[in-house]
Symmetry: C2
Subunit: 203 residues, 2 copies
DNA sequence: TTTCGGTTTAACCACGTGGTTAATTTATAA
DNA sequence: TTATAAATTAACCACGTGGTTAAACCGAAA
């Protein structure tokens, strides 16, 4: 039982996650995943039967990380402004720990939009319920008139976009300086929250 | 000179654009591009020497469509609020005509971030100039305190995100109904403009 | 020590890939 | 009509791909 005693299945999944997220399904090679995991290629098929199934495992995991707990937070019994603060804060934190996941998940979903059906934990109905509830809260909070959908997309988009757009944002706006980009992201949590809450406030 | 007299090079580029944008570089097959164009595969290499060069042609074109004319608009001598209205309006219009381009460009840029260097028409300096000018305008307009970078990213992100995120947005928020999603996008132009301008306004 | 199941590997396979080539067709001009 | 170059094609090639297989390895129970 030496130190590197790590079960092989996990070893494979870790390697596959790195490769798939970096190169996407089409760009990933089973050989490279095996090399990264430090094992023989046949072992990939021993534990996961095919490239598709290995990818499936990685993608589900990534999707669950990516899929915001927005519905949990949004249905909790706290004030709307607090929900918004809470969501922005925790969602940006999550993405900061896995900055490449949004681009990965969204690309694979665009490549195969039908896949979403297998992944949705909540029905359209539960979503509908939350939306109408949110819609009520917007009104009773005395906020600006805005549909629940528009607000949700704004919140999520403002959190995610900087990460997906980094390869174009950083060179143009920050002279390709990693530090300046990181500072930018750091300040985003408070900036986005301020921006949204102010956008919702009647003048 | 019959009706379908279309020069072959253009025929190839059209087919390549469709395939590359739908499947990405790694997922695209030269044979499928040839079939789509209705020509022999060897012709692809006759006009464009390699898959890379054919892709390069498609990507440059897409990037120029995608790359917002934000710097033109932002440096024109009109009031800031008008610039914002103008940008949101025209940018969403452009993307509506090519709804798959943002996901395509951003994915390929994430796959190969170095590529951006070959594509930037403006130096970091010109961008810097525009940013400080914009920063001044924000102040003199009496708007809320916000950095030029944060504002620009918010504007662009709010325009683009619904298109990149469609495969997840439509099923969850609109019961996978094409019409409801299209209505949502249509109302976005006014909604996003209102949202941003209000977010910038002090109480 | 032997046996036996789960692990791991080297070697292999059929097939699809991007790319090439030599020949054929087509248009053009003399 | 004929000569010439450009456009187009069928056939081909080397190689990388996902996947398989049979044998070897290894720890534990008998």
């Amino acid at each position: 039982m030496s130190g590197n005693e790590k079960n092989t299945e996990k070893l494979i999944l870790d390697a596959a996650r790195n490769i798939f997220i970096e190169k996407g399904f089409d760009g990933a090679r089973m050989q490279e995943i095996a090399d990264t995991a430090g094992i023989n290629k046949a072992l990939l098929h021993y534990y996961y039967r095919s490239k598709d199934q290995l990818f499936e495992a990685v993608f589900r995991e990534s999707f669950n990380t990516f899929s915001p707990r927005i519905f949990e937070i949004m249905s909790s019994p706290i004030e709307l402004s607090q929900k918004i603060r809470l969501f922005i804060d925790s969602y940006i934190d999550i993405i900061l720990e896995n900055p490449h996941i949004p681009a990965f998940v969204l690309h694979e979903l665009n490549r195969n939009p039908g896949r979403i059906k297998d992944l949705m934990p909540f029905t359209g109905q539960t979503a509908g319920g939350l939306l109408s509830a949110l819609s009520q809260e917007i009104k009773s909070a005395g906020y600006v008139e805005i549909s629940a959908q528009q607000l949700m997309i704004n919140m999520i988009g403002l959190c995610i976009f900087p990460f997906i757009g980094r390869p174009i944002i950083q060179p143009i706006l920050f002279g390709n300086d990693d530090n300046r980009f990181d500072e930018f992201i750091q300040s985003r949590k408070t900036e986005v929250t301020k921006f949204i809450l102010n956008a919702l406030t009647k003048k």
